[in-house]
Every structure is written in C-alpha cells, then in structure tokens.
Amino acid sequence: MNTQRQPMFDEMHGADAEIRAVYRDYAGWLANSPLDYLQQKSREAEWLFRRVGITFNVYGEEDGAERLIPFDVIPRILSHGEWQRLAAGAVQRVRALNAFLHDIYHGQEIIQAGIVPATLLTNEMYRPEMQGVDVPGGIYAHIAGIDLVRTGEDQFYVLEDNLRTPSGVSYMLENRKMMMRLFPELFRRYSVAPVEHYPQVLLNNLRAVAPPGVPDPTVVLLTPGAYNSAYFEHAFLAQQMGVDLVEGQDLFIKDNAVFMRTTEGNKRVDVIYRRVDDDFLDPLAFRADSMLGVPGLVSVYRNGGVTLANAIGTGVADDKATYTYVPDMVRFYLGEEPILANVPTYKLADNDDRRYVLEHLEELVVKEVQGSGGYGMLVGPTSSREQVAEFRQRILANPDNYIAQSTLALSACPTLVEQGVAPRHVDLRPFVLSGNTVSLVPGALSRVALREGSLVVNSSQGGGTKDTWVLNEVQPC
C-alpha cells in the first residue's frame, strides 16, 4: 500500500493549478470580490446565526455555553456528474448496509457464507434484543450520514458510515439559506440544485415506515432535551416537518403502545425519529440510570407497536471494524460492484496487518473502532513520539479495538481565514434517506478544518462548515 503523502488536491484549482471547469465562473467572481467584502459578509452571517440561535452546546463548559459552528462563505462546488456518481454510490452502500442489518438480526447468512467473521457479533453495538425482530420495510438506517473524502479528480473514498443518529443536516439547510441571503446574485448566475425539500422527504419516509395498519401515523422527534449538543438541529427538523418535538418525560407506555401527554389528554405515537442513543432509550432495557428515555419502549418496539428511526442496534454496522467489510456486503447482498471505495484499512486484530501497522505507526492514522467526533485517534504524522508510544501500548493491550488507515491527502477548498482566502481541508457528508425509496437531496454538509494543515473537521474540535453546491447539468451562460 502506498503510504507516501500525495500532493493535496485543490477543489478549485485542480492538480495542475488550472481552475477546474465547475469552479470557473465562481473563481472569476471570487477574484473580483475584495477581501473586506467577504469579511463583512462573514460577520453578517455570524450575526444572523447568533440571532437565530443556530448554535451547539459544548459539553463540559459553563452551564448553557452555546457556540456557533464557524461558517465559511465560500461554497464547495460539485459538478452534476460528480454528484451523480457519489449519490449512486451512497445509495448503494446504504441499501447494502440495511440488508446487512436485517441479515445480522435474522439468518446471519453473511457469516455463514464466511464473508464477515462471527466475531462482529461480540461488538457491543450488537443488540441481542433485536434478534428476530421484524421492522417495517426491513429498514434499519432510515437516516444515514456517509462521510466522504476526496484525494484527486476522480478519487472519492468513504471514510465512515454513520447509521445511529447522524447529525449535521440542519447546517446543510441553514448554510444554503444563509448563502442565498448573502449572495443572491450568485444563485442567479449559477444553477444550484435545491436541497430545501429534505424535511419533506424525511417526513414522507417516516410516515411510510409506520407500523402496518396505521392509516394516518403520528410522527414525533425524540430529543434528549435543550442541553444536548445537537438540540438546535432537533428543534429545527421537528419544526420543518411540523411534528412534535418530545422528550422522554412526554411519552409513556400503555396497552403495548406509546402515548404522549397533551393538553387534551393522551395521544398515540406511531413513529419516533429518535435522536437519543440506544443506551438511553429505555431504562428497563438498557441503562437503568437514564432519565432521557421511556420505560418499556423497547418492549413495545419489539412487538411492532411503534417504529423507531433509526432502528435499535444499527451501531453494529457502522463501527470501524465492520466498515472494512462494506464493499463485500455490496457484492454479497446486491450482486453489484461497489461504486465508492473504502479507505484502505488495516485491522489490528489481524496478525499481518498488526505487524505492519506497528512498524509504520508514524505514517498512519489509528482509530478506535467505536470512537467518534475525532476523539480517541492517533494521527501518526502529526503526533509526538510519546503519543505514538502510548498508542502502541494501547493497541498491544487490545488490538481488536483499533483499525489503522493510510493518511490521505484530503482535498482542500478555498476558505476565508484570517489571512485571506486560503485552501483548507474538507470532507463531505451527504444524508441518505430510506423509506419507500432510498434517496438523497442533491447536497451535503461540507466540513472544513479551519486550522492550516489540520485534517480534523469535527465541529467539536473547532471545524467549520460550508455550503455545498451541486450544479445542475445545464448551466445558464
């Protein structure tokens, strides 16, 4: 495997410093836009986000600390062709993952066929409660966030599948709204595919997966509450869909059904888009100390009295150990060749892989299989000798808990930073929705690492976001 650091691909300028066709018009506009104009727009955006309260809460800081995710006013632009391929690849991947989840909680044919090892079931995200349970439509991951990175003109890699409670879609929608407000002239000039119908697609899908025999299902969004880091998004989506935003205390179980307390008495709930993790959903089934969930919910769910989106136990398919098998799942369940490639990954449980990784720690990225948010990882090339030594010990103590990947030269996109406009690394998270169909709106969340040279785009670690433009095929001249 080639671990050589490749030159960084620049989304605007391409590999040979020639401005790429998809950016040509925008690059001209940008070159003619004075820096202080962009900075003024940037301040305006910040003021608007603050006023509207588009914030996230930061754990471990003073009570009620609310931060803005930095917003970059320079969009990331994808061509129609690029998007079609990415979208087809993401849909294919989610179809395979849903098939895998159904299989793993039923016949486990993929294990019998020797394609994935039975050890995956020792994964703590595997939920024995779900074994043999039929969920409406066989859909487990109703909302999936597929993290992609780019290293070259045609080289996109899937970095991670997020199948539990992926967040960020509200930023995709709010960033677009902000850009249209700040730069209306650009939208007149460019034909940017719209994303605003996402909440409607989501609502249609959620209604489509109601328990059978419910003609007019009641959908709610379950949030851990106003202090959760993604509370803004929960409120935003509930409002956009026109459904009630509920907390665990608003729900209760009676007669094998879920009800919510309303001012007119109790009302039956059929579909719960839950943004509460498995562990906190039901103190009777999972963590007994949790106050966020609903006692008895899992029992009703298992009996088909309510639909949860995403299903319980989807985590077994999105950890970093399972990730390595997703291309095989595409072949096994769909009989297709994967459209999107994985990042080449070493499994530290494997003897040969482990030997190689321990010899090349300084060149690799090592991740905990269940880590998220950029925590619990080693970025070899930028780590100190002590950090590398410490990770070596951690790997030797528990090799199953880690994977390693080559450090990729993530593409960069022009970004407004203090010094002016400069390239910063970006990734891409499109959101795939499954219900009657598997689909996505033509857009995604682009996250950007604001510090020079940094590859960490997570908002909890100071990353920012940008609007992602998917251009329609025919652009007006």
């Binding site: 603050r50 006023r51 509207v52 309260g53 509450g225 106003a226 509370y231 409120a235 509930a238 409002q239 009630d244 935003l245 509920v246 907390e247 205390q249 608003d250 209760f252 919510m260 307390r261 309303t262 001012t263 007119e264 008495g265 006692p295």
Partner: protein, 315 residues
C-alpha cells in the same frame, strides 16, 4: 398539544410579563425618588418594590438597607434573585428555547435577541443614570414580544396558553401594585381631606400606562378611589383586573372544551366579581382585603391551570 410545550409557553409569557412589570415598578419608584421634598425617607420609598415582589426577607438578608442603588441592583440585575428582571428574562429565554418549535420563528428570534442584548447590557453595567432607559427597553421588548406573538403565531392552543400566562401574571401584578401603593400613598386617617400628592398618584398611574386613560375616563382631578376603580373594575383599561379576566375567561372556555371544568368555574367566579362588582362594596369590605383575596384566588386559578393542562403526571 404536548403538556410540556404548553407549560413552557405559559411560563414564557408569565416571565416576560413579570419582567415588564418589575421594570415598570422600578421606573416609577425611581421617578418618585427624584421629586424634591418627597414626604418619605429613601428607605420607605424603596421598600415597596421589594415588598410587592414578596422578597423582603431575602433582600434584607443579602443587602440590608433599602436605598436606590441596592434595590436597583437586586430587582434588575441580581441573578441570585429569582424575581429580578435578569432572572425573569433568562427563564423566559430558557422556556422559549425548549419550545422554539412551537412558536413562529419571529417570536423565537425576538426572545433570543432580547436575551443577547440583555447580556450585552449587563456586561456594560447599568447605573442609576441609565435606569429609566433600561426600564423603557425592557418594556418595549415586552411590547414587541406581545406584538410579534399577536401578529405571527398560529391561533392554536399554544397561543391560548401563552396569552393565558400573560393575563394571569398581569392580573397578579396589577393587584399587588395597587395593594401596596394605595395604602402607602393614602394619607393617614387623621389627615383625610388633606393634600394628596398629585405627582405620586400620577406616577402610580403612569406605572401601569394609565395616566392618559384616567384623564379620558374621568375628566377629573386625580382621586385615589377612582384610581382603584380604574385598575380594578374598568374593562377598557388594559391592565385592570377586569380586563385581564375578560381575556382569561374566553381562553379557558376554548381550552376547557376538552377538559378541566374547574378552571373555568374559578375563572368565571372571579370574572363575575369584577364584571358585576361595585366599588362602594369593595371599599366597604376594605380594598386591601379585596385585593388580597383576589391575589389568592388568582393564584389558585394558576395552580388549577397547571394541574389540569400543564403538569406531566409523575413517571
């Protein structure tokens, strides 16, 4: 609608209304303290706002003496005082945040902007010189919130609970203000017929935006008993007890279609007293007694609303 959502909307409105009323009271006290040769000592002048809020013990424990600076700090800016303007607006924003889905986005932005500006103002500090401006600002933000609500919110149960909160709170505040100020300003029994300080009574009227209304209603010099009548019985005076119950009763009639007859009964009983009551009879039994009784019944109604519609049963 969700009981918890209704609860947050109801209390959001109450906290905003309470902040407004506190600002009104502080402002009028402050203005009265500026009149040369005010009959009362500084302490006597600054005690009533604290008394109206029902916080005497807490204030005396923390601040000791009643004077302009300490009462202003306590009533406007002290975050440890649950009835300060800052505390009320902070809680209003917390409630709004919990149910931003159930409001129009203009309403949420209004509350959020109010809170952001409040924090800015606190950082800059509010001295006695800026008090009137600060109180005006609180009042105007409250007006703005009511206006945005009236102009943009879907006329659903959420709207009804929000309005209910406003008027339950306002009735309570007007009754408390009148109760304390009336007896404070009334000349002693030996002195009946003596000169009543026109300025102080007009300041009381101004604190409930009723000065012009008084002139229009009575075309007369300012008399204490007429002021009481205006604030208790006049249905066309927007902050009077009667006007508040003109709003509360029909809202409860709508809400009680589904449940909670007891709320409607209590509200109807109070409303009838205000609608058919006579000022002579009220004075006969004692204005203070009447107001205390009203405050108690209004509180009981609030508790009944809470019990019937808003509380999630224990789980």
């Amino acid at each position: 609608m969700l009981s918890r959502t209704a609860d947050h909307l109801y209390w959001l409105a109450r906290y905003i209304e309470r902040a407004e009323n506190t600002a009104r009271m502080l402002d009028v006290t402050h203005r009265m303290s500026l009149v040369p040769n005010a009959a009362q000592s500084e302490a006597a002048l600054w005690r009533p706002p604290v008394m109206i809020a029902g916080d005497l013990a807490a204030f005396e424990g923390e601040y000791g003496r009643y004077n302009a600076a300490s009462v202003l700090r306590y009533m406007a800016l002290d975050e440890n005082n649950p009835s300060s303007i800052v505390s009320n607006l902070g809680r209003a924003r917390e409630n709004a945040r919990a149910v931003r889905v159930s409001m129009s986005s203009e309403m949420w932005e209004n509350v959020n902007a109010l809170w952001l500006e409040l924090r800015q103002r606190i950082r800059q500090g509010i001295g006695e010189g800026a008090l009137s401006e600060f109180c005006d600002w609180v009042k105007s933000m409250s007006h703005l919130f009511r206006g945005v609500t009236y102009g943009t919110m879907l006329r659903d149960d959420g709207y009804r609970f929000l309005r209910l909160g406003t008027f339950i709170e306002r009735a309570d505040n007007t009754a408390r203000l009148l109760d304390v100020k009336y007896h404070l300003l009334l000349p002693s029994p030996d002195d009946v017929g003596g000169a009543v300080d026109y300025y102080e009574w007009s300041a009381l009227l101004r604190s409930v935006s009723a000065f012009e209304a008084y002139q229009k209603a009575f075309h007369d010099t300012i008399e204490p008993w007429k002021i009481a009548e205006l604030l208790v019985l006049h249905s066309n005076m927007p902050r009077s007890l009667h006007a508040c119950f003109d709003e509360i009763t029909p809202i409860l009639e709508k809400l009680c279609a589904a449940r909670g007859w007891e709320c409607l009964r209590q509200a109807g009983e109070l409303h009838a007293r205000l609608h058919y009551g006579r000022m002579e009879d009220i004075f006969q039994g004692g204005l203070h007694e009447f107001l205390q009784d009203f405050i108690a019944h209004n509180n009981a109604l609030g508790a009944e609303i809470q019990r019937t519609f808003l509380n999630a049963p224990p789980h």
